[in-house]
Amino acid sequence: MFRKKKSRVLQRDVNFGNCLEDMNLQITNDFYLRKLNAPNELYEFQVTKDKEYNEKFYFAVLDHVYSWTLQNSLLTRISIPLESSPSEPHSWIYATRNWQTNENGIVIIIQSMSHPLIWSNRNLREGDVRRATVLDVIAKCTEKKLSVVIFSPSALLWDQSINFPRTTRYFTSQGLQITKKSIIKDVETPESYVSIGLNYVMSNSVSTKIHFVGSEYGSYLLNSYLDLNWKKFSGKAGAILLIMNMSINEELHDPDYVSYLIEHARNYLPSHEPCRHLMNSIMTESGIPNFSAGKYIDEFYDYIGDVLLEMIALDTNTSKS
């Protein structure tokens, strides 16, 4: 009977300009993401009725925030696999400038499967952009003369058109085909990305202290790596901050690592108890002390910098004494 004609209009790439302002958005002086002409209005997901357009728009916003964070936090990017040329498929880890030479200490952060350098999209929409992104944590650490290295295990697919690593979510939402050319050799899984990256950081940092942050899925990646390589690290390990830890005892094999965790790590979970309150009500199998992250996990990302510094201070004191 009737067959739909091929749509004559080829899908044009939508151009959202080069900055947030081009998208009628701004980051205000007090660091909120707001509409350009109405500084009190939040970003809206429904830009048009066209769902696909909204998705593209949303990712464009995230991209701009990513660039903004990168710029303001003065992070350098290290490509993984190492030594890849800019046009070869690679993913990134992000580090503050002096990470190799800094002896005071280094903080290693493994993000969840969220957008690179952004903790929580929800906070980004509503709260302080510095805290919704990693900017606040970096500022606080740098102030204490600590270096920071950030792992973003979500962006492991190569977008050839712009030579840039992307999240799977980006590919599927934009209707892009995942081909062999999108696969980044040697870092096909979050596990291998973390493992290559951490090996590199470990062997190139002169620091005597390493502190760790593992957020949600990142907590599992972190634990799996440390459990395997604990012998190498045990001398340098400092504080371990976990957010909604996903690992359970059965998965961990090194008893030394497990006992270190119980001793030094803290796990933050959403709960109705006041934020940063030690909780006895929820016992995890792992035996790591649980603290309240506030009602929602997003709330905790506002505090993450403060909590981390407290833990580091505590660790420094105990190791001195």
Binding site: M1, F2, R3, K4, K5, G175, Q177, T179, K180, K181
Partner: protein, 399 residues
């Protein structure tokens, strides 16, 4: 009607003899009756509609006159077609509606009654008029082309596989027959003479589809076949050692024992998971079988690559092995028309060794989607089949 009747006509209305013959009788009914009288449902595989009477021909000429747009003719025809067949089988209704929908004909649900019960006493004629709810947007041709063959092809390949999820042979048969039956009736009633060739092609396709889909379905249940399964059990991660005895304890929570009377207690027992050396191989069985058929050379080998590919069968050649009837099936990588992306692979041609009787009823040009594992010794293993697709397989972008 005799002209004399007009003498007493006090009503102020008048007759028009030509129009009168057109609308006097609902010959559609009588056709349906003739079908019923012959004791036929209209779905018999070799059902033939009775020759049109002169009267019916005349009626069709008016209904489906060439100067009436095809959309209107089709809409009219579908109404009549629906009333002339027996629709007691829910699967058939569902498939016919899906087919029409793919072809740009929308079928309405029962009309919105706002909670009022449908008038039960409506006359039968009115009821049939009430339930005819297929319609074609009058400006459909601004965005659509007319192509009966394409609709039949897409419907009988990707549509019934993925959208309708047809798995049973009899359902596949129903799907092909409904399309063929419908198209034959379009031809029979001369609804769209200007597209006759296209419709004939579509008919032939539906006929061919019936044979192909049934054989595809049978192949689906047999593939990848004994040899490939054995090879997979040795070389492919997903299947390595899968059917070897496991130590896991399958008894359920013993703390809870309450039993339903007259209900046989059922536990998945070991028998359910027994390797049979035909479709399930323990490692040992697999080694023995490969040793016997291909020889020891293929017991070793390193996996170089694994890819999911959609391919087309181009040839099968019998191989000379002492005790086993094997054949070499040659496939080429093939992108289905209408698929969103082309496949990302550097492979072009694949050779797989299969039991020759597997492909007995499979025509060249049949397509497969499968997981292929390539060994460093040149062997290609077809370890998993995702779908067996007919020669005319086609997809629609952006469903």
């Amino acid at each position: 009607m005799a002209e004399g009747d007009f003498k007493n006509d006090s009503t102020g209305c008048i007759g028009d003899s030509v129009e009168f013959t057109t609308f006097k009788k609902r010959t559609g009914k009588s056709l349906g009756n003739r079908r019923k009288k012959r004791g036929l449902s209209g779905w018999e595989p070799y059902f033939q509609e009775p020759e049109l009477t002169a009267e019916e021909k005349l009626e069709n000429e008016t209904l489906y006159s060439r100067n009436i747009p095809l959309t209107v003719r089709m809409e009219r025809f579908i109404q009549r077609y629906r009333s002339r067949r027996k629709w007691s089988d829910p699967t058939r209704i569902r498939l016919f509606t899906m087919y029409l929908d793919l072809g740009g004909v929308s079928t309405g649900q029962k009309q919105f009654t706002g909670g009022t019960d449908i008038n039960n006493d409506a006359k039968a004629r009115e009821v049939s008029a009430q339930t005819t709810t297929d319609y074609i947007e009058y400006d459909i041709l601004d965005e659509y082309d007319i192509d009966f063959k394409w609709v039949a092809g897409v419907f009988l390949s990707s549509h019934i596989l993925y959208n309708a999820g047809l798995t049973k042979e009899e359902d596949l048969q129903i799907a092909c027959q409904i399309v063929r039956n419908f198209l034959l009736s379009v031809l029979h009633n001369n609804v769209a003479p200007e597209f006759e060739d296209n419709i004939r092609d579509a008919c032939l396709l539906a006929e061919q589809a019936e044979t192909e889909l049934i054989s595809n379905k049978r192949l689906s249940t047999k593939l990848p076949g004994r040899l490939q399964r054995a090879l997979a059990s040795i070389h492919v991660d997903n299947y390595k050692g899968l059917w070897d005895k496991s130590q896991s304890d399958r008894t359920s929570d013993s703390s809870v024992n309450f039993i339903e009377s007259n209900n046989t207690k059922f536990m998945p027992n070991d028998e359910l998971f027994e390797p049979d050396g035909i479709s399930r191989f323990s490692t040992q069985q697999a080694r023995d079988y490969i040793q016997r058929t291909l020889g020891p050379r293929y017991l070793t080998g390193k996996v170089v690559e694994q890819e999911y590919l959609t391919v087309k069968l181009v040839s099968k050649t019998l191989l000379n092995f002492s005790n086993q009837s094997l054949c070499k099936a040659v496939f080429i990588v093939w992108d289905p028309p209408g698929s969103k992306y082309s496949q990302d692979t550097n492979k072009e041609r694949l050779e797989v060794i299969l039991e020759s009787d597997l492909l007995n009823n499979t025509v060249d040009g049949t397509h497969l989607e499968g997981s292929f594992t390539f060994l460093d010794n040149g062997l290609t293993i077809l370890d998993t089949v995702l779908a067996v697709l007919p020669t005319f397989y086609e997809e629609v972008k952006d469903e």
